[in-house]
Subunit: 356 residues, 2 copies
């Protein structure tokens, strides 16, 4: 899934060039490319499907020239993760009605790639023989309020050395006090947004929970076997789909969900705070995103992102987010996630789409 505009990372993530197309870690590969590389170790190249907004299909092709155009599915408009996953599931069933699927996010940091590959392979084995939906959960290392939490049933099931729990509850981003209790209880895990399931299981579950959308999709796939025609028809239908997330519309309501524990070192890179938490810091706690060249004096716990070839001099400031990206410079206190969208909206109100 590589279709979001990443507005919580504005102005780094921009409508015309969202975060997944950036080399955010300064390693020479964009987040999309890193995700591709990671899953190439699990899935044959021909079985990798990228779902993106039609605005970004040229960027996807450019960054992943290995993919044929059949492997890129376009959404005409953003409708959340549930419609996107439903469309891809129908598409994959057309190719192979027995397929097992892992749904990948293009904006995640994975530290131990070997452990990650092993985990996903165990998950794929698990769903191959059971009609269960699997979500990968990460043992919390701090009471993070930016993540969703998943509560596991105490009963653990070991399958081929993978650890799976039946899911009891999903909780959206909790307040700090709750996050603390969740973490201490030992029953809660961060929701990684990595899902694993058999194609028939997810289609059956979504047909039950989102019957109108799935009915329409199934009809289009049935009535238009020609690929191009089908694409156009899905395109037309897409705007009528509800704008809902997979967790809200499906995972929280389904009764066949398992949690698989991931122990590979994981972080979401969707917000400035997540970048700050994730990035290596200098001895004063300053995180330099994209290896930004910065000379600091008496400055602590800042996060700085600059264009390549630019130099920042930072003196006597603490806890700031300093993001110099394209035609926008943002200087504000860290840890105010909610304000980023306000800035973006105010810029749009005042100046139109120039800075979006």
């Amino acid at each position: 899934m590589a279709g979001g505009i990443g507005s919580r990372l504005w102005p780094l993530s921009r409508k015309v060039y969202p975060k997944q197309f950036h080399d955010l870690l300064g390693c020479g590969r964009t987040l999309l490319q890193q995700t591709f590389d990671r899953y190439s170790r699990i899935v044959p190249l021909k079985n990798i499907i990228v779902s993106t907004n039609s605005d970004y299909s040229a960027l996807v092709k450019e960054q992943l020239p290995q993919l044929s155009s059949d492997q890129i599915l376009h959404e005409p408009t953003y409708r959340g993760t549930a419609p996107s996953i439903a469309y891809v599931a129908c598409h994959i069933r057309q190719l192979n009605p027995q397929a097992n699927i892992v749904v990948a996010q293009a904006d995640q940091l994975i530290l131990d790639e070997n452990m990650f590959v092993e985990t996903v392979n165990h998950g794929l084995d698990f769903v191959a023989t059971r009609s269960n939906l699997v979500v990968v959960g990460i043992k919390p290392t701090c009471p993070e309020t930016r993540y969703g939490y998943i509560q596991a049933e105490a009963v653990e099931e070991d399958v081929d050395n993978g650890t799976f729990y039946k899911v009891r509850t999903f909780t959206e981003k909790p307040a700090y006090e709750f996050a603390k209790v969740f973490m201490e209880s030992g029953e809660f895990y961060w929701n990684s947004g990595i899902y694993i399931w058999n194609v028939q299981t997810i289609i059956d579950t979504m047909t039950e929970l989102l019957p109108d959308m799935m009915g329409e999709l199934e009809r289009v796939f049935r009535e238009y076997p020609n690929r191009d025609e089908r694409r156009r028809r899905v395109y037309d239908a897409y705007t009528s789909f509800p704008n809902v997330s997979m967790d809200y519309a499906v995972m929280e309501r389904a009764d066949n969900v398992y949690l698989q524990i991931g122990k590979f070192g994981w972080a979401d890179l969707g917000t400035w705070d997540s970048l700050y938490s994730t990035f290596p810091k200098d001895s004063n706690g300053n995180a330099l995103v994209k290896k930004s060249r910065t000379i600091t004096y008496n400055s602590r716990d800042n996060v700085v992102v600059l264009p390549k070839d630019k130099l920042a001099i930072i003196q006597d400031v603490d806890d700031l987010l300093i993001a110099d990206v394209g035609n926008v410079l943002l200087v504000c206190k860290k840890g105010r996630e909610g304000d980023i969208r306000k800035f973006l909206n105010d810029a749009r109100m005042k100046y139109g789409d120039e800075f979006v």
Copy 2:
């Protein structure tokens, strides 16, 4: 005089594009052009001479296409204001041995242009008939520590409505306590750096105070009547001249100096603090240099400069200098004038001339 690199305004003022060539006030004319416009009301076009570093002669020609190349004098290297003024004086005497000269700085803000024109004209009248050096002084409006101060003798001389005092002392940038006493005494004026004199008076005075340099200059002018040859010879001699300021080498030592009061609203634009003091501010005290487009939230007393077409979002920060210019972003507390050169030097040490 338009030859400085303006390092106290780094990174706005850059070696390849110093502040005098910027439209700092966002009015459509650069500081150099504004200075030219201002003096065009006093001096015939053909009598305006621009003294600059040879690196900037193309910029001067580009910004002042009205000037012939005879009117631009090149210094091969920066040696302070005294050698520069001496060279120009010798050049002007060659053109007209009776000339009266006003020495202009290209980085000043003048509020009342009519009053300014009147003042300079009175000054030129004053020096036409007396062997005195005149420096224009500004009545302090605050105990500013960024300026030099000139103490006047109590005895005032009125000439054609211009007010002139004999000078008692020059004081370089004073500590705040002194500046306060200076201001309260009523005897002290800010040194504007605007000098007025007859060409023979300044050459005689400098010959007395800087005999080696003046001897060399006089010799070159005497021995090389051909303009191009003379320019080359001055060029060669220039590097051997002492690096001294006019105030230090001449004005503080001469005994024929008068202070003329300027009441036209004046500010030096040489430092970030001076820009902050000078610029119009929004209701929260934020100064937006070059009309930088900025949306502020809960932020006070900042100075912001941005590229045209860029937007800054500033939240929860006070008293910062935020300068985004070319390949450098500077974020630091205001009011640390001395640190700017340190930043520039550290950038040079670490990265070479890329950011100078």
